[in-house]
Amino acid sequence: MLRDWTKYRTTHPTGDLNKDHPEYKWAMAIDLDACTGCNACVVACYAENNLPVVGKKKFLHGQVMHWIRIERYWNDEDIDIPHQGAQFMPMLCQQCEAAPCETVCPVGATNHTPDGLNSQVYNRCIGSRYCSSNCPYKVRYFNWYNYPEQENAWPDPLPMQLNPDLTVRTKGIMEKCTFCVQRLYEAKSKARTEGRLVKDGEVTTACAQSCPTGAITFGNLVDPYSKVGKMWRQQRVDLSKDVQDKDRDGNPEGIRGYRVLEELRAYPSIMYLERVRDTQA
């Protein structure tokens, strides 16, 4: 007890997934060896979630609104000639189980749902932006302008494309990746009317759906038969650990699963699989 106070700090995640989330725990697995950085997911997100196109000037000021972004890093070793190509990273809200953004919101506009989502209540948000300040991944995007009305982000007839399943956000509120919550709700209510739980593969996010290489796997972690659940178990990544057992002894077996900035104890819900490069090549 004296050595590890942390177990007294958090009550969630408890380590017992079924206790935290009896029915659903939406999670992802992203295979960085499959991701080619083609940006299909980014466009899919724009189309599904009514993201405004901000234009050059605002992009210059860093006010872009992409909920998922493809990052491109270079390897510091062979910086002159990147023999091993580039490093791509699809980064979106990690839907942390102990999200740093949730605790700091003064009005409780961002909360944890029973499905383990990190919800953002648009009409409650007053725009203090504390959540984003506290987000280690910086994946929250703020409406610096009134895109629908004042900035004319959707000149006619582009508004006809907007997805009626979710709102168009207005000035002064925070938004972020929702794991396409509108799709999840549709699937859940459908399942509920049929008196069952959502089956694996029945619902997926726009990004996972579009990904040409199928690098993104989305599903319900609680469901023992879900693909994503199997991958997490296979990769021995435990949602409620901040250091995975396999990594304690330097991961000798070569299991690729890991989570970004895991040591910050936010318990992200997205597992990445390490990019692979052949050393013979």
Binding site: T10, T11, H12, P13, C96, E97, A98, A99, P100, C101, E102, T103, G108, N111, H112, T113, A266, Y267
Partner: protein, 182 residues
């Protein structure tokens, strides 16, 4: 036979305190020490001590206020957190102690201060109506007033004593029975 009130204005505290001492020692029949009031431009504990200890009970209310603030504050916060359990937060308990402690602390101080001020006004009898009693604007400047309330018969005696201690000015007024006396 009517009661009167006289106010004597003195140049400094020494004069005033001498006058008071003599008043007390003069054991006039209808003069009660509690009916002697000092009006001064600055607070002056020594002179006040001549009149014997008089109560200043504000602190008691302060304590009550602080306790109220703390207990009500915590109850309110905890209960509101409790009934909005949808507000599951980044792995924290629904009613987390550290933040609630901070808020309780603040509310304790808040109520402590408010009640103290309230108590002060009540105990000091403020706000008061000026007309109700003798006053002279010199008091707020540099002169010390000694006000005595007594039956008519010994008023003259009081005046004499005042003059003996070369009071600069002496005013008097009749106290109507009806009015609560101060």
């Amino acid at each position: 036979m009517s009661t009167l009130r006289v106010l004597g204005l003195f140049n400094d505290f020494d004069a005033a305190s001498d006058a008071i001492r003599e008043l007390c020692s003069a054991n006039l029949p209808t003069l009660n020490v509690d009916n002697i009031t000092i009006k001064s431009p600055i607070e002056h504990p020594d002179v006040e001590s001549l009149l014997g200890t008089r109560p200043a009970p504000t602190r008691r209310y302060t304590l009550i206020g602080a306790i109220l603030g703390a207990s009500l504050g915590f109850t309110f916060i905890a209960s509101s957190q409790g009934n909005w359990f949808a507000q599951m937060k980044g792995g924290k308990p629904i009613i987390p102690f550290p933040p609630d402690f901070v808020l309780t602390y603040e509310l304790m101080i808040m109520w402590g201060v408010y009640v103290t001020v309230l108590a002060f006004l009540v105990c000091a009898g403020l706000p008061a109506r000026m007309k109700s009693s003798l006053y002279n604007s010199k008091i707020s400047e540099d002169q010390i007033g000694v006000m005595v309330k007594a039956e008519k018969n010994c008023i003259d005696e009081v005046k004499k004593i005042f003059q003996r201690h070369n009071a600069l000015k002496i005013e008097e007024e009749i106290v109507e029975r009806r009015r609560r006396e101060r």
